[in-house]
Symmetry: C2
Subunit: 181 residues, 2 copies
């Protein structure tokens, strides 16, 4: 792989890893796109919790009762999308998603103020008479980890001239190639 492609891939992973380490990093949040249970594409903003370059995986935390858990059980192929508006860099990860129970040591690391994202009565999406009618009591049994295994990374740099766009496929060890932007 050319030095320029290697540098582009290294830069993308550095940005992703910064997202897992720094609260105000541009790639702290990303978008998880899935296929809805009745078809069509769905998307929501999520927080990137972990990234493992050697394993080519990303991790996101979720409530087991959320729509996305049911959606990926039916169709695991989705996209995790990162966008750095300042640098005009987009990273699209085409992924296969799976869901497992969160481990007690993972739960212990979640700040108490953030645990309300897992649990709550009624469950996400259920009707409420008013926002105050929701009981946000956390439930560790509803804490789950989504693992996104990367099949393809597509990286787009719009901040440079010429624009640069490259794809890196898992099937050939993430060797990259340039494509038209």
């Amino acid at each position: 792989m050319s030095k320029a492609l290697t540098a582009m891939l290294d830069d993308a992973w550095a940005r992703i890893e910064a997202g897992t380490a720094t609260a105000d990093a541009p790639m702290r949040t990303c978008v998880l796109a899935t296929v809805g249970q009745s078809g069509g594409a769905r998307a929501r903003t999520v927080v990137l919790r972990r990234a493992d370059r050697p394993a080519a995986t990303l991790e996101i935390h979720t409530d087991t009762a959320s729509d996305k858990v049911a959606e990926i059980a039916a169709e695991p192929r989705g996209t995790v999308l990162f966008w750095d508006a300042g640098d005009m860099v987009q990273i699209r990860a085409e992924v296969r998603l799976s869901c497992r129970d969160g481990r007690p040591e993972e739960w212990d690391r979640i700040p108490s103020g953030s645990r309300r994202a897992y649990g709550g009565t009624p469950p996400p999406g259920a009707p409420l008479t008013a926002p105050e009618a929701h009981d946000p009591t956390p439930d560790p049994a509803r804490f789950a980890v989504l693992t996104a295994r990367i099949d393809r990374l597509e990286i787009l740099h719009l901040g440079s001239a010429p624009h640069k766009r490259a794809v890196f496929d898992a099937t050939n060890g993430f060797a990259g190639r340039w494509i038209a932007p």
Copy 2:
């Protein structure tokens, strides 16, 4: 509809409309999620070009040769996702997408420096030997407008306590209801 729900919907449209008017508005960019031609969800960052609340439509410009045009021809149901990281406000629009040719007067309004997004040889996604091998000459015949007709708006406010989440459906005139966050 309660005043609080009306206020939430009005606020969402004000944010969306600001996105069409102000270059640095948080909702100037959004994510368009579609279903890939071989299945699975795809997503990319796009610029919001126009919003029409009475018609419940959003507009995005595209190159006719981009993957998303072929994808929506096969599956028009997608999501347009907005996220304001400062205010912790998310707007998810479940939409039906269609594509039409751009009009000459629309082309004329595009700054010359931005026209390279429509056209270019080879077309988006085609192999390149290097980024410099791409000829970005614009082509008005490749300029198209995606119209996203909103079936449902889901609005989430995470910056307030309690969190607020509501859905507004086109089928009942965008009357809203609260749901669990």
